[in-house]
């Protein structure tokens, strides 16, 4: 183009004292930023193609590279900021909807960071998790308050189906297609080793991964991709996806270019055809309709598997959750507006939905007030970033959490938020064979296991500090939380006191 309105966002800084011209940066950049000038014997870079994914930086053997944000500037304005202007230029050039990936990056309050955790002093002893038993095992599903006895007087041991988690952290729904085969294998193997679950997303389950079925949650979404009887039977639980935190109210679109070979077979759609998930389920327009799907899925799997319903955190989430709790579902998943995605319209990602902290507190409160909290387990997702977030989520009322972004980070993702381009240099959000092989599941699964194991240790430490030896005793224990810098309304919604109270 003769006139380029946009100056590159990043600069590639190469230290000539350190560069040995090994060309690993050139070979590893799918965006073709780096090149070698034979004549001059030096590496060159075209920073306009850089997405800041750090693949070259991480592999440079002499640490000769770094990526910095360009300090090139527009005339400063608090209203028309540089990124806002750039978006207008981009749309004026393309005429299209802006696309972006991963979670909402905007500067909205992160309530996890405004909540503090309690600890015991003097009057109630803290517990040392290294010396005393500490329980982070949980069960997801309906809990029944009634004890029934059979004719022989013995307690009837029949319980609704449950999921048993050794640690209250699961891997969130990411479809095969949006992420690579190797990323899926890493998640599946890690879930098995950790005694937790990963989620297929709506891309179906690759034939090779049926062996991990006992640690798989299979998803049924509006596109119904890859759904058939043995798929439903393969999983430990079935999840109906009504919405996703990153893009509430809209469906999905996996471009035909990514529907190749195995992805096409797994999704059961022709190669090269776009995989379009409608915004709504066309058979669900009410809680009664949802109930029908919940029970069709239960019927199809002989009432052996819990069924969960995943919704995005939106304004009236508490009322919706109340309906879901009455629909026969065993688990409600609430996905906050900071949740990740492989591609979403930027305006939706950045402006639709509400923070998961507020949604969780509202839902837990509502279900308790209505006496139906035990009908369902609550799982939250949408940017759970650390073990502290897990502890705060559980204390706000969650049974367990899903991690998606954190899991991808463990696999090497650097949050460059360019998944939609399909050229993931880390072998995660791509189907290009030469890029997919960059993620060796032998390394990937181990890093996931390390991450969750580390979090589990930290959760136990924090529970021990509070004098709590079972995560069940922490659930909904909001007295263990205090807000900092929050206003009266926020504290009221979160159901916690301010620090010092």
């Amino acid at each position: 183009m003769a006139v380029d309105f946009l100056y590159p966002e990043y600069e590639v800084i190469r230290n000539p004292q350190r560069c040995i011209a090994c060309r690993v940066c050139e070979r590893q950049c799918a965006n073709e930023v780096h090149s070698y000038d034979e004549e001059l014997g030096v590496m060159l870079s075209d920073e306009s193609k850089c997405v800041c994914c750090h693949r070259c930086v991480a592999l440079c053997p002499t640490r000769a590279l770094k990526i910095v944000k360009s300090d090139h500037t527009f005339k400063e304005s608090a209203n028309w900021r540089g990124d806002t202007i750039a978006e207008v230029y981009r749309q004026a050039g393309s005429g299209g909807v802006l696309l972006s990936s991963m979670g909402n990056p905007k500067d909205f309050p992160v309530y996890w960071d405004k909540i503090l955790i309690n600890a015991s002093q003097v009057t109630n002893p803290s517990i040392d998790p290294l010396r005393e038993p500490m329980e982070t095992q949980i069960y997801l599903g309906k809990r029944t308050a009634d004890v029934t006895r059979g004719a022989d007087g013995k307690i009837a041991a029949e319980l609704p189906p449950h999921l048993s988690l050794k640690v209250p952290v699961m891997f969130g729904a990411m479809s095969y297609g949006s992420i690579s085969y190797n990323a899926h294998e890493s998640l599946a193997r890690a879930a098995c080793e950790l005694g937790t679950y990963y989620n297929t997303g709506e891309g179906g389950l690759h034939q090779d991964f049926y062996q991990y079925g006992p640690h798989t949650i299979v998803q049924v979404a509006s596109g119904r991709f890859g759904v058939h009887k043995s798929y439903l039977e393969a999983g430990a639980a079935i999840e109906i996806k009504m919405g996703q935190g990153a893009k509430p109210g809209i469906g999905g679109h996996l471009p035909g270019a990514k529907i190749t070979g195995d992805v096409s077979r797994t999704r059961m759609i022709p190669e090269g055809s776009d995989a379009i998930s409608p915004a709504p389920h066309h058979d669900i327009y009410s809680i009664e309709d949802l109930r029908q799907l919940v029970f069709s899925l239960k019927e199809a799997t002989a009432y052996q598997k819990p069924v969960s319903v995943k919704i995005a955190a939106v304004h009236n989430v508490a009322a919706i959750a109340s309906g879901i709790a009455r629909s026969g579902a065993d688990i409600i998943v609430i996905d906050g507006f900071r949740g990740g995605t492989g591609a979403a319209p930027t305006r939706i990602r950045d402006n639709v939905g509400i923070p998961i902290e507020l949604a969780l507190a509202a839902v837990d409160q509502r279900l308790r007030e209505e006496g139906i909290r035990d009908n369902v387990s609550i799982v939250v997702s949408g940017s759970i970033r650390s073990s502290a977030d897990v502890v705060k989520a559980v204390a706000l009322g969650a049974d367990a959490v899903y991690i998606g972004t954190a899991a991808l980070l463990a696999l090497g993702c650097h949050l460059c938020r360019s998944c939609q381009a399909g050229r993931c240099n880390w072998g995660i959000a791509t189907q290009r064979p030469d890029l997919v092989k960059r993620l060796n599941p032998d390394i990937g699964y181990k890093r996931l296991v390390n991450l969750v194991t580390a979090w589990d240790h930290e959760i136990k430490e924090m529970m021990g500090g509070m004098g709590i030896n079972s995560i069940e005793a922490l659930r909904g224990n909001r007295l263990m939380l205090r807000g900092i810098g929050l206003n009266e309304k926020e504290l009221q919604i979160l159901g916690i006191k301010h620090a010092g109270e």
Binding site: Q17, R27, A58, P61, D434
Partner: protein, 145 residues
């Protein structure tokens, strides 16, 4: 005995192993100082085809043709590792001709060079293995070849 094995499934063809090899055998402490502005002569080489790539270095065979062919006794087996004595080598290159893997190459200064599993430079820990970003090169026990 632990040997270097290559898994082409995970080889990215990034060539880092070659540079880590050259650095390990340079004797220098700083990689940039050792390798900047030079053409490297590593003992491990990446072979690349259209969709496949893999690293090739000495297999440390149980019955090595190179040792058999060596006319001066410069190449010998020490604890399973095929080592090379620079002082004895006369540079006849018979080993280079006889190695079926092409893992021995002429060195600067007239003699030959080959992978010695870093036993002489870094204490038994091959630098190519440590430097491989995708575990495409491993150093492990797999029974005898």
């Amino acid at each position: 005995m632990k040997r270097i094995y290559v898994n082409e499934k995970w080889c990215l063809g990034c060539h880092l192993c070659e540079y880590y090899c050259a650095f390990a055998n340079s004797g220098a402490k700083n990689m940039a100082k050792a390798l900047r502005d030079i053409t490297i002569h590593p003992r491990i080489r990446i072979e690349e085809g259209r969709d496949v790539s893999f690293a090739v270095s000495c297999r440390h065979c149980k019955e090595p043709l190179c040792v058999k062919s060596c006319i001066t006794g410069s190449l010998k087996i020490e604890d399973g590792v095929i080592t090379f004595d620079r002082e004895r080598c006369v540079g006849c290159y018979t080993c280079i001709l006889s190695c079926p893997y092409g893992a021995i190459m002429p060195a600067e200064g007239g003699v030959i060079q080959k992978c010695e599993l870093c036993v002489q430079n870094a204490g038994g820990s091959p630098a190519c293995v440590a430097g491989c970003p995708n575990k495409a090169i491993v150093f492990e026990e797999r029974g005898e070849l």
